[in-house]
């Protein structure tokens, strides 16, 4: 199967988690926070059913036919996503203590965490849906 060596493909896996957040910049006045963030600044936060689409690129292994074994990818994704699932991100996830947990920042966080763990292929993109009408993408 040597003529199949080196063929690169992109694989996308979709996974979901639920989390709460509040947009609030402590360096701003309450008025400014409300003006910039609107409803997202309400004091007790709010939640989303996030959907993450994680795309990786790698060689289609000529022997196994796979870019990455989905069982391994799922294990990695669970490790990354579990600490966020059903959490209030602002308080319960250290990375967001000094960052506003916007869709953009959560996508960046996911990309970094996934990238650190990936072996045998490379991260191409994380697309994170906050709801069906809004998503953020981080490209590598």
């Amino acid at each position: 199967m040597s003529d199949n060596a080196g063929k690169q493909a992109l694989l996308t896996r979709r996974c979901s988690f639920a989390a709460g957040h509040r947009y609030h910049n402590p360096q701003w006045t309450d008025e400014r926070n409300r003006e910039v963030f609107g409803k997202c600044n309400f004091p007790y936060g709010h939640g989303h059913n996030y959907i993450a689409e994680v795309s990786v690129v790698g060689e289609i292994d000529p022997e196994t036919g796979m870019v990455i074994n989905l069982v391994d990818l799922d294990r990695l994704l669970k490790e990354v996503i579990e600490p966020l699932d059903h959490r209030f991100l602002n308080e319960e996830v250290a990375w967001f203590r000094n960052r506003i947990p916007t869709t953009e920042n959560i996508a960046l966080y996911l990309a970094d965490e996934i990238e650190q763990r990936l072996e045998g292929c490379r991260l191409k993109r994380v697309r994170l849906y906050e709801d069906p009408t809004l998503w953020a993408e981080v490209e590598r």
């Binding site: 063929k7 690169q8 493909a9 694989l11 996308t12 896996r13 196994t64």
Partner: protein
Amino acid sequence: MWNDSFPDERNRLLYGKCANDDGHGHNYHVEVSVGGTPAEDTGMVMSRGELDAIVEPLIDKLDHHSINGHLKEAGYPVATSEALSAAFWEWLHPRLGERLVKIRVVETDRNSFEYFGGSADRI
């Protein structure tokens, strides 16, 4: 999913449920993307009719059939969706040429596989 050149245990470990002896199926969706400068007279990169005439016979050949044999013939020993996306490219490229931009195989609502001709630069 099964590679005849692997021992049984390796196949079962590697492919898990997908190594079930009697196989399993998916309702695959395949997206064929073509690109280029629209022709001045038609305003189109390619007409829907021309594209359908090229793609549909291939779909008919695969639909409700086992894809394992077709993929083996194409040089892919294991019927993964990665292999299916690459084989689709290779089956269609002779007819579509440089207009072919991407093949996307959607295996389930959680998994999809994209092939751009094999080079990472085009991804």
